[in-house]
Symmetry: C2
Subunit: 119 residues, 2 copies
């Protein structure tokens, strides 16, 4: 099997930096494809393709406006991502507590070393 499709879920869709940029841009409100190509400095077909992926996982909605298509964010699929990552919030805090302990120990060790006159 190969890597899971980018359209599998929000996790995969959002792993691509360009798609995160698109969502960030759309966070301010509806934008047309042309606006996005300009903002991202990316060619139009690529933008359209990224938007397709985002649409397929439900991260954006489209609306027709004459010959343009206005895209807007639908953050709902990000809830799952947020929920999963959120479960680790406690862990990375603990991690930093541990880090502090280690740093303290290092400081003590250095103090001892200096007392002994170096290695």
């Amino acid at each position: 099997m190969a890597r899971a499709a980018t359209t599998t879920d929000a996790f995969n869709a959002v792993a691509e930096p360009r798609r995160r940029e698109i969502l960030d841009a759309l966070a301010g409100g509806e934008l047309a494809v042309g606006d996005l190509t300009e903002l991202l400095g990316l060619a139009q077909p690529q933008v359209s393709k990224h938007l397709r992926v985002l649409r397929e996982v439900g991260l954006v909605d489209v609306r027709d406006d004459g010959r343009r298509r206005l895209y807007r964010v639908n953050a709902a699929p990000l809830r799952e991502v947020h929920a999963w990552v959120g479960r680790y919030e406690r862990l990375w805090n603990e991690r930093f507590d541990l880090m502090d302990d280690v740093l303290d120990e290092l400081t003590e060790t250095e103090a001892e070393t200096e007392t002994r006159g170096g290695d």
Copy 2:
């Protein structure tokens, strides 16, 4: 260019469900590779390869214990993910508020419709 490497960052590393399972398993504490293969029902080489990816993005640390290798979570790299997704929390809530509005409107419409005696 092809898709970004899974070892590029936590976003990409965590897009793979198996790797999320591994992290979930390790959330309870240190585990050896063998424990993980059993828990995930995945072959040992595959587990080792997933662990390599997780190591390369700093999501796990290793420790030697005789002929086994104990892995533990290091959630720090998930902070960035959490931070990015977190910016959309307000948006998906707004989204649900809008949904509520829509539902209200629908209810009203139905009420009218019933008053008028159906469609």
